[in-house]
């Protein structure tokens, strides 16, 4: 299985490649990709340099152009596709069918992947992308069990499947979640950013850390409590007599223990989330998963990566891969 690693910046790309990534994924510094954070991502020149660096060391670069173009303003998205092809990207990660159509027609030799943002979660959906645009791989949304992943992988072969194994966990059907829009007017789907930093406020009070998004208080972390991202899906809300996490606790996905099952399921690639994270995170997580994969391939006993200190809320879950609530 390939190890696909996040690179929010050129420095992170170099760290990921040096730490053992088979491929890194990254995007341009604008609204064309789903991590459009201040100061993050790549200029055109940095992308060319990053591709060259990765290729010299035998790693691939997958360029995400995975937000949905605004009606009547597809120019930036098409330019991102053209420039990524010109930069030597090994694959483009796309979500919008119009953009997939443009990429397939304009750059027929270019390898295309379906982004998790497309929420292609069943064989019919995946087959559509394969037949219409010739995609080679689909990144499955984080809502399927391992058994469901195995069924999809079997049904869509030879189209490859890629799944998330570590990092921030989005429990919604990605590409269709508008929670951030309700509070801020911006979403990962259209603007490339969930809970934009410009709408986030933190305040230290006597009773703890208060996080607000777009003017709404979404959590208060007590003095002795680990914190999480300021997203509505991980907000702690008062409903009637109780206060708690309605959608999801602040936790990170860690599917390291499921690597044998994912291999058995026919998964082709394992993705680490975290383009917004620093070099220390990228290096630590990539090295840990490279070691876990090596152990798996060599039949050595599994060793837990021990990455708890890097996780949101300092807590991990196997998410939907093991749906205990069903």
């Amino acid at each position: 299985m390939e190890l696909i690693c996040p690179a929010g910046t050129p420095a992170a790309l170099r760290v990921a490649v040096d730490a053992g990534a088979d491929a890194v994924y990254c995007g341009y510094a604008d609204e064309t990709n789903a991590r459009n954070f201040p100061g993050l991502n790549f200029s055109r020149a940095e992308m060319r340099e990053g591709v060259a660096y990765a290729h010299r060391r035998g790693a691939k670069v997958l360029v995400a152009v995975n937000t949905f173009p605004r009606a009547g303003a597809v120019g930036p998205w098409r330019r991102a596709v053209d420039d990524a092809v010109q930069a030597g990207a090994d694959a483009l990660i796309l979500a919008d069918i119009g953009l997939l159509d443009y990429a397939a027609r304009t750059h027929p030799g270019q390898r295309l992947h379906v982004s998790v943002q497309a929420a292609a979660a069943n064989p019919d959906s995946v087959r559509f992308y394969v037949e219409a645009f010739g995609v080679k791989r689909v990144v499955l949304p984080r809502v399927l069990t391992v058994a469901e992943i195995a069924a999809v992988a079997r049904a869509v072969a030879p189209c490859e499947t890629e799944v998330f194994v570590f990092g921030g966990l989005c429990v919604m059907a990605e590409g269709r979640c508008s929670l951030s829009s309700y509070a801020t007017g911006q979403s990962p789907n259209m603007n490339g950013v969930c809970s934009p930093a410009s709408h986030v406020a933190y305040r230290e009070r006597a009773d703890g850390l208060v996080s607000r998004l777009g003017g709404f208080t979404i959590n208060t972390f007590g003095r002795g409590e680990a914190a999480g991202y300021p997203t509505l899906c991980k907000g702690r809300f008062r409903t009637g007599p109780a206060t708690g996490y309605l959608f999801e606790d602040p936790v990170s996905l860690d599917a390291a223990a499921l690597l044998p099952a994912l291999r058995e399921a026919g998964v082709a690639a394992l993705k680490i989330e975290g383009r917004q994270r620093g070099r220390a995170y990228v290096e630590g997580v990539v090295r840990a998963f490279r070691e876990a994969l090596s152990a798996l391939e060599e039949g050595r006993p599994f060793v837990s990566p021990g990455l708890l200190s890097l996780t949101e809320g300092q807590s991990t879950t196997q998410g939907a891969y093991r749906k205990a609530w069903r």
Partner: protein
């Protein structure tokens, strides 16, 4: 509730108190030199900051008796040491143990993880704070290496010396944390 596990120990309060009488004036030229050294090696930092370069960042090492005000605006970026951060006029305040702040500036610690563990407190303009973090990360700023590099041929021994100093800081902090834990037991 998930209890937090702090990643970075603060310096012992005794050491903080011992540093308090020291004058700040001699620190100023060293800070200016350090900022110039980093920006000379990483000119893309300012490009990544974009419009946020005009913000005033308060950097508050909570275990030292002084703080810093960073104004990265070109063409004359500057950093100043102050006894305490001003109440007004700052756009962002980033506070935490000095080891956490240095760890972010040399890439050895992840900013989000420091936030999750509550080692780091960030208040004010979050977009500017995120941009600063990403600007430092993006071009591979390594505060220790960049400072040492400013000394030309003396860079390798200077880097060893600086890293040794950082290690000493860590040992002091850990010993302080141990004493504190014993005092509570």
């Amino acid at each position: 509730m998930v209890p937090n596990h702090r990643r970075v120990a603060a310096l012992p309060p005794l050491l903080t108190a011992a540093l308090r009488p020291l004058p700040l004036a001699p620190l100023q030229p060293a800070l200016a030199l350090a900022l110039r050294a980093v920006l000379r090696r990483h000119p893309r930092v300012l490009a990544r900051l974009g419009g946020h370069a005009g913000r005033r960042f308060g950097l508050d090492p909570t275990d030292l008796p002084f703080a810093f005000v960073l104004e990265p605006r070109p063409p004359a970026p500057r950093i100043a040491a102050v006894r305490r951060l001003p109440r007004r006029g700052l756009d962002v305040r980033i506070a935490g143990p000095i080891r956490a702040l240095i760890g972010m500036a040399d890439g050895s610690l992840d900013g989000d993880a420091l936030f999750f563990s509550r080692d780091l407190v960030v208040e004010g303009d979050m977009a500017a704070a995120v941009a600063l973090r990403n600007a430092i990360e993006g071009d591979g700023v390594d505060l220790i290496r960049d400072l040492a590099a400013a000394l030309g041929p003396l860079a390798p021994p200077a880097e060893r010396l600086l890293r040794g100093g950082l290690g000493l800081l860590e040992r002091l902090a850990r010993s302080g944390a141990g004493e504190e834990a014993r005092a509570w037991s």
